[in-house]
Amino acid sequence: MNALGTGANINTGDTAWMLVATALVLMMTPALGLFYAGLVRAKNTLNTFMMSIGALGVVTVTWALVGYSLAFDKGNGVIGGFKFALLHDVTFTPRAGTAIPHLLFMAFEAAFCIITAALVSGAVVERMRFGPFLVFMGLWSLLVYPVLAHWVWGGGWLQHHGTLDFAGGVPVEMASGFSAFAAAMAVGARKDYGRQALLPHNAVYALLGAGLLWFGWFGFNGGSGYSTGHPGVLAFTNTLLAPACTLVVWFILDLTFGGRVTAIGAATAIIVGCVAITPAGGFVSPIWAMVLGGLAALPSYAMIVWRPRTRLDETLDVLAAHGLAGLTGILFIGFVAQHSWNGVSNGLLYGNARQLGWQAVAALAGPAYAFTVTFVLLKVIGLVTPLRVPEGQEALGLDVAQHGEEAYTSGEGAILVVPEEHVPVAQP
């Protein structure tokens, strides 16, 4: 054993599972990129996908440098301190309250911050410049996500008062949803929004992306107990049950209102179900998880039908799928949390009205903070540099305009540009 040691406090089973869970959660970000890419027009495929890939780079760096410390150092009730900045003291010794190495805990939580930042891109696809979006994600991952994560997990005021959030209803789902709402308002609608049909170009991508997200979500929720113990197992199983119920209810809603079950609807339903069970996973019984899954379909479905009729071009409905479903899940805990299942607290139905009260406070405070800071942040970035591409670029497509590449290039008529020094010169 060296000084850092793999002491007796480390549980090898927990560690093995958390290594896998971390990789599963990391995979969710490219899966999200695929899901989003399928929902935009063909000319914006790469740009949309790249917004998620961008998060893998930028947010991992900000997280390791400062973000992790701001979220998970003790600090005060609102935000963590700088003790873990530059990963100082983040070693093989167990993270307090777990039996896994602190370093692994940091990596697991990093993957959460990455996908949350990437989620916000859904609100601004097909028009936002790539550079400013990267800057936005970098700052957002320091100003918004760590604060909310600190509130519910890092020793912040919500956690102190007993708000239950298993895998991120507040910092992940509501934060991304309401930040997306703010971002759509700050960046503005696409120029053809409301005048032309702007249709998804590949529903297969959307279905495959949603399927991979569900797969990754087993690590997301199942890993949020940081162990192979009961809460993790409960959340893992609930991640199977709840989205299945959302799918079935969504099918019924589609049949009732449209007469046909749609593929894009099914992909959306999977996300909504996974989101709803995210905060509740380790706190509610499997049967209540199924009820939650079914119930969560209703507000999100209604919003997805209603939103495109408004002026708000929140393009890929992050607010409906994540904000609203996350809010449903957070509140649902307040009603049906069961001490006999979670060993922590009861909800209103089991005699503890106080739990619902603090779930409601979280459902108000989280969105309010995320919305406000995101809106101000984007307005400030907008003062320094334009947020949107020029109209001509928006028409041409952001793949060519922002990246100089196309998703579906044929190669016909392409002429190889040979660098000067390689041009063969006649020998004397």
């Binding site: 053809d192 032309q196 001509g392 028409a395 041409l396 060519v400 100089g404 590449e405 196309e406 290039t409 044929s410 016909e412 008529g413 392409a414 002429i415 190889l416 540009v417 660098p419």
Partner: protein
């Protein structure tokens, strides 16, 4: 009777359709084509391979009209497709020898005049 061929930017195709509809021009075909008309080449890079894309995506409208509709069709194409930048496209008008509506066997001008519902 003329065949009006309009080659326009893909992103303007919807505007052209709208303009044609307003001009009461109903029968048309549309296809995706690639072409080159003197606009600046786009440069794309794939892993160190830099290429000049000589051909750009365009949409080709083919509209057979009776003589009184020729000007209206040309105007609608121009109005819908124009952005003012190089690469807005071209319109070609060519004489049409014969036209037949397959369902009824109607010929020429009758064949290119939309049926009243």
């Amino acid at each position: 009777m003329k065949l009006v061929i309009g080659i326009v930017r893909p992103e303007r195709a919807n505007n052209v359709l709208e303009a044609l509809y307003r001009a009461d021009v109903r029968g048309l075909s549309m296809s995706r084509v690639q072409g080159h008309g003197g606009e600046l080449d786009r440069v794309e890079t794939y892993r160190g391979t830099t290429v000049k894309m000589e051909l750009s995506e365009k949409v080709r409208f083919e509209i057979a009209v009776s003589d009184p509709f020729v000007e209206a069709t040309i105007d609608a194409l121009c109005e819908g497709a124009r952005t003012g930048e190089v690469g807005d496209g071209k319109i070609f008008v060519v004489p049409l020898e014969r036209a037949v509506r397959i369902r009824t066997g109607e010929k020429d001008t009758l064949a290119v005049t939309p049926v009243e519902p």
